[in-house]
Every structure is written in structure tokens, then in C-alpha cells.
Symmetry: C2
Subunit: 190 residues, 2 copies
């Protein structure tokens, strides 16, 4: 998606040789007009697919997922919650997710009431790197006997294994921008 | 807002005599069509006011704030982050917020880059009870020498002191539904 790549080139901040900060328009301050363009793009990529629900994870996935839902006939959006305590609540699906960024394990939880058998669910997240969050969400969708239609990502780090991990689970990945590498303070896209 | 009150009556879950759960349409699963109606209602209530930015707090404020921004000419939305560690980062505004629900203190932080002198900022949150989160956000807006135009709330617990606390700081409160009391498993609105 050219508009997004342009925005990343112009306003993304690069730290070292693997960190890209997009907190000016994606995950701290949010550009809602840009999110609407992302919604149109995802709709185009999933043309003809039945989507019953969108699943994302707090916090930075929520704004994007909410706007995207408008392009999928306003389907419900569910956000998984991160908990540091292992949650034994019987009314929740949960999955253990490791965060490499924070070097912590989270128990990611979703109420069983919001994932229903047979539902076709689109998973949305802002970044794909190692794929841990997405795998946790796929795990939860499968626990609910629903179907993970695809994982939709805003920015994929193509030099990290996330895509392979998700595709290995038999789930399609659609990313709006795939970074090939970060070099000399510049982002190079695939 | 009648549509919201109807939804709360029909789909809200009451636990004991002070807890209302709206996780089926506001803060776990989200009804994006309803959020759009909220956006229209807030636009009506702030007709003629200049709003430069919307500020909310993770996680459940984000979806609502993002949709609402569409009715305010797509102004940027910033979400404050909750941190359990006291954050000494010099690039952040921070404010200490006590959560009565979780009985914890949070350091609520916003990058200094995203609150600018003179900006007129609308603060949005899903619930108002004791007003702690809203006060933290007002504090941050003032640290940035910006102006808190108002606090916009989806559901206000009218039997708790939040409104008085915020108005005491000289900031207006606009709530879409104000609960007078919860009695015999029913929500009574003001």
C-alpha cells in the first residue's frame, strides 16, 4: 500500500538497525484518515470473503480494527486482553504469548461468549515480527471452533519469522507494508 | 442518548448493586455502528467548538475515540499508556492515576510530541466513576499547555463523584448515559 509506505518513509523513526517507530500515526497518535484507507485496502484484498468478526489485541490493534470493521459491513470487533497473571477463569479462552519487545509472557484472554463455532474471523494487528501475538489469537479462534480466515497486518518485518510461523499453521497473511530491511537509517520495502 | 440507554437496558449485565458490564458492545466486543452513533451525538453536543485533537486512555477508550474522530474532521487521536513502573523518561508527560477497579496505581504517560501548546483537546473515555483517569488526562493536557475542552464519557455512574471532581478542575463533562442507580438488577438513568 503506497500511501502507507510513503508515510513510513516520511514520518517513521528508525532506531538502530531493526526498530521502526510509527508512534506519530499508528500506535500512540493515530491517523484516522490513514486507517480508513487501510480499511479500504483490506476490503479489496478480502473481496468476496465472508468475514463475521474481527479479532485484535490490546492496545494498538484496537483503533485500526475498529475503523477496518466499517469496511466489512460493521462486523463486531473483539479485542483480546493481556494479563500478566495466569488466568484460570473458566469463561475465558486463553493463550500464552511471549513478547520479545518486553521480554515477558502474557496470558492473552478472550471471553468465550465472543468467539462462536463456525464464525469466520479476520485477525488484525499493527506489527508482525515473530508472530507470537498472531499465533495466540489463532489459538483462541481455534479453541472456539471458529475459523481464522487470515491475519491482516499493517507493517510486517519481512526479515523476521512471523509470516512463516503463521503460514505454518495454515493461515494466510496479508500485510499492507513489508519491510525487507532497515539499513543506513532507511526503510527498504519488499 | 436513547439508543445507548436501550442497548444498556437490553444487553448490559448487572453484577451486585454497582457493577454494570457492557463487554458485549463497548469494552471487549465493540459495536462499531453504535460507536458511530455516539460520534454523531458528541459532534452535536460540541457543535461550533474547535477541537484539534482527541485524547483517550488504553485500552477501552481507543475504539470509541477513533470512531468519534471521524465526526470531528478526522483530528488525530492520542491514547495515553498505562505503565506500572514509574516512568522517568524526559520525553513523556506523566500523571499518577489510581484504579479503584484494580486497586492499583498507574503511571499514565503521553509523549510530549503529541500534546502541543494551545491545542484544544477533547478527552474521551468509556466510563466515569471516581474520575481518576480523566483527571490524569486533564493533568497531562495542562502540562502540555494545551486546553481540555471537555471530558466526553459514554457511561457515567451518577452516584459516584467523578463529575464533581472534573468540574472542580474547571472542565465540562458530557456523558451519553448517566446512571442514577442500579437497583433490583435494573439500571435507572437520570
Amino acid at each position: 500500500m503506497e500511501l502507507l509506505k510513503k508515510k513510513i518513509r516520511e514520518e517513521g523513526k528508525i532506531i538502530g538497525d531493526s526498530i521502526l517507530k510509527v508512534d506519530g500515526f499508528i500506535n500512540h497518535q493515530m491517523d484516522v484518515r490513514l486507517f480508513n484507507e487501510m480499511g479500504k485496502e483490506f476490503k479489496e484484498r478480502f473481496k468476496g470473503e465472508r468475514i463475521d468478526k474481527i479479532l485484535t489485541i490490546e492496545a494498538s490493534g484496537i483503533g485500526i480494527a475498529t475503523i477496518i470493521a466499517q469496511y466489512f459491513d460493521y462486523v463486531p470487533v473483539v479485542f483480546a486482553k493481556k494479563s500478566l497473571a495466569s488466568n484460570l477463569d473458566n469463561e475465558l479462552y486463553h493463550s500464552n504469548v511471549h513478547s520479545f519487545t518486553k521480554n515477558k509472557d502474557y496470558d492473552v484472554v478472550v471471553s468465550k461468549r465472543f468467539i462462536n463455532k463456525g464464525e469466520r474471523i479476520l485477525i488484525i494487528d499493527d506489527f508482525l515480527a515473530n508472530g507470537c501475538a498472531a499465533c495466540g489469537l489463532i489459538d483462541i479462534v481455534k479453541q472456539g471452533e471458529a475459523e481464522p480466515v487470515a491475519v491482516g497486518i499493517i507493517i510486517e518485518k519481512g526479515f523476521q519469522p512471523g509470516r512463516k510461523v503463521i503460514e505454518g499453521l495454515g493461515v494466510k497473511v496479508e500485510s499492507l507494508a513489508i519491510i525487507d530491511k532497515i539499513e543506513n537509517g532507511q526503510v527498504l520495502f519488499k
